[in-house]
Point group: C2
Chain length 394, copies 2
């Protein structure tokens, strides 16, 4: 199976900032695990199995040509179907979801001769989340006070849950089972608002730079705290401590300062806190509305960024008076792309089994401002990849 | 009663942007109505009555000296108590609530020899709202598609309701009856965020100027709409029309533009829409949570501004799928100050009766961008005043 390449899928973030790619490659030199798995699977299924890895890559949409070169260089194409009798046309198809699937169809056809087969975004997000929560461990974790704690998911007690996908905008999806879900809410104040407003306010050149800045900033410089209003005192009667934010960017009202007089770090921090807190609050209110115990936050806005997760977790804790807990996903940004991967049946791809848990990335990586997520070639570091088998229908 | 002046109260917006003043003046030359009322009241109550008007004024906190001059020039002081046997000290007291009551106590003592008697802000907001909703008609109105429609409030069926006070920050209060309430939620993304961020982004010099700008702006220049993502199409499966905002300020991500390349009007419009929509959504979710049918929006953020009310109303309509209706209050910005007014019992002020409904301000006034709210001397135009009687205890 040395030469074989199997399905690859790219997915454009609906709200247009990132391209995510999930692709599978076989283990060309790991015969032992391959044989083990083959034996097992032949016994179980009598269908051919590819042993390999799922890889994850992302590209900024404006650098779409890097993505196309990446696909070409890795010779990523749909060959699984060739071997397994799907129609000839199928071999030139890539599953895609999100707005880019509409926007860039022509470009892909022209540059790679590949047609984009559109999959519904919500379907893909949910399929991706269900796959990660069921098949991969460790995947879900809580984040509090700088501590990342992986959570063992009870497969029998997974549903219902609230999936909050924070892309440029935010979708809140009540998931009741495989393929059973409803988008119950959302907000237009999301990652794209952080990046868009942040770009205008700080002149940062990219999202990660802005996120990095926030790490060094102090929101109290610009936010008006309860203590600023009540002469340093809490407003205990309504349960507001003096350090709570009464009004994001409220100090800018009274300060005789121009935009240039504020440090970009502080602006970025206030912006991140405002948006993360708002998303946490609206998410909790929706979980409460439908009696959902679990809220999983995903989407590339988070980027494993400690302060983002901490703010969301604190918001959920605050608004739920400690009754609800925010959980995060290790492969947070790839739900849609993974979901596309799941939808390949008709192209000969039948099933995906993860038979070895993915190596856990150290907490430090996320505290460090998440460099691991943005390597030059778009590829994520290996500890993000997932060892798995792909079962192909005959 | 020519010379007599009665209690006056000033109130600082908690989050520090505005000072609101409510004061009462007697009708020095309206003997007939005065006599009528006196006669009636003597029969009923045997206590002296002052016939007059409640006036409303506001000042920017940074222009606090204008406020102090205004109080001095109008000779506003607490003389009601002198005539009615309250302690001598009481005559130099002004009821105040909000953060300013802490911040400016010394200044008032020094400049006017008046002590600020602090009243709890939530108590005052609720007392003010209950007074307006019960005593004044027309007061509450709905706003849809540019149409202002006054609502008759059934006094027997007023409670419970959700009071959303949008100041610099936002408080959401579940009101179950007179003095019976709980602050159930709120958001730190409020009027101060609009003004603070707006000031940084547009260099506007005051809140009303920024609000005015938004009136001429187009949010589609900066906001990313669902249609921008899905090639002009709706995302009908999840009920999002192509014109819905997918991501506030999302276009700033992909546009190769600097802040200076955007028109302040468009920025202000996007900002106003982002914040109004967010407040509407969180308010509805809280009304839903407690099964509240009515949501009243107040606070000086609104300023009778058509587009603000329209966005809030549309948000409540959208998120409630038409089941909830946003209502607004004519004296939106004076709830706290009115509430302070209600708390003067121990100073000889016993009861306040509105015996003539306040003249309705024309719809045009709010569509016109609410000039009526900001006259140079801080006084509101006469059609905002309320004819009433003040009963004084012996």
């Amino acid at each position: 199976m040395k030469e074989r390449r199997t399905p690859t899928f790219s997915r454009w973030k609906v709200k247009g900032s990132l391209i995510k790619l999930v692709y599978f490659s076989t283990n060309s030199d790991d015969s032992s695990s391959s044989n083990d798995s083959l034996a097992a699977s032949n016994g179980d299924r009598g269908s051919p199995v590819l042993e390999g890895k799922l890889h994850f890559a992302k590209f900024e949409t404006q650098k779409i040509n890097d993505c196309i070169d990446f696909i070409r260089s890795k010779q990523l194409r749909l060959t699984g179907s060739e071997q397994h009798g799907a129609s000839g046309s199928a071999k030139c198809v890539i599953k895609a979801t999100g707005g880019g699937a509409f926007k860039y169809a022509d470009l892909f056809k022209e540059k790679l001769g590949i047609s984009l087969d559109k999959a519904d975004e919500m379907d893909c997000l949910v399929a991706g989340a269900n796959f990660l929560l069921k098949a991969v461990h460790p995947e879900a974790f809580t984040y509090m006070g700088g501590q990342k704690e992986f959570v063992k998911i009870d497969h029998e007690d997974l549903y219902p849950y609230l999936l909050v996908n924070i892309g440029s905008g935010v979708s809140m999806i009540k998931v009741d089972g495989p393929g059973k879900f409803e988008r119950v809410s959302g907000t237009n104040v999301g990652g794209g608002t952080f990046w868009g407003l942040g770009k205008l306010l700080t002149k940062c050149k990219n999202f990660d730079e802005l996120l990095e800045l926030s790490h060094q900033g102090n929101n109290r410089v610009i936010d008006m705290l309860v203590g600023d209003i009540y002469g340093g005192m809490d407003y205990t009667k309504i349960g507001l401590v003096s350090t709570a934010i009464a009004c994001s960017f409220g100090k800018a009202i009274s300060d005789n300062k121009e935009l240039e007089d504020y440090k970009p770090e502080d602006i970025s921090r206030s912006l991140l806190r405002m948006i993360s807190n708002n998303i946490g609050q609206i998410s909790y209110l929706n979980a409460l509305r439908f009696g959902l115990k679990r809220i999983f936050f995903a989407g590339f806005f988070i980027r494993g960024h400690a302060y983002t997760m901490d703010t969301i977790a604190v918001a959920v804790h605050f608004w739920s008076k400690g009754e609800a807990k925010a959980m995060f996903l290790k492969h947070e940004g790839f739900l849609g792309a993974l979901g596309s991967f799941m939808s390949y049946e008709k192209h000969g791809f039948e099933d995906l089994k993860v038979h070895q848990s993915v190596q856990q990335s150290p907490v430090g990586a996320s505290l460090g401002g998440d460099k691991s997520h943005d390597p030059p070639n778009g590829d994520l570091n290996e500890n993000q990849s997932i060892d798995c088998s792909v079962y192909l229908s005959q």
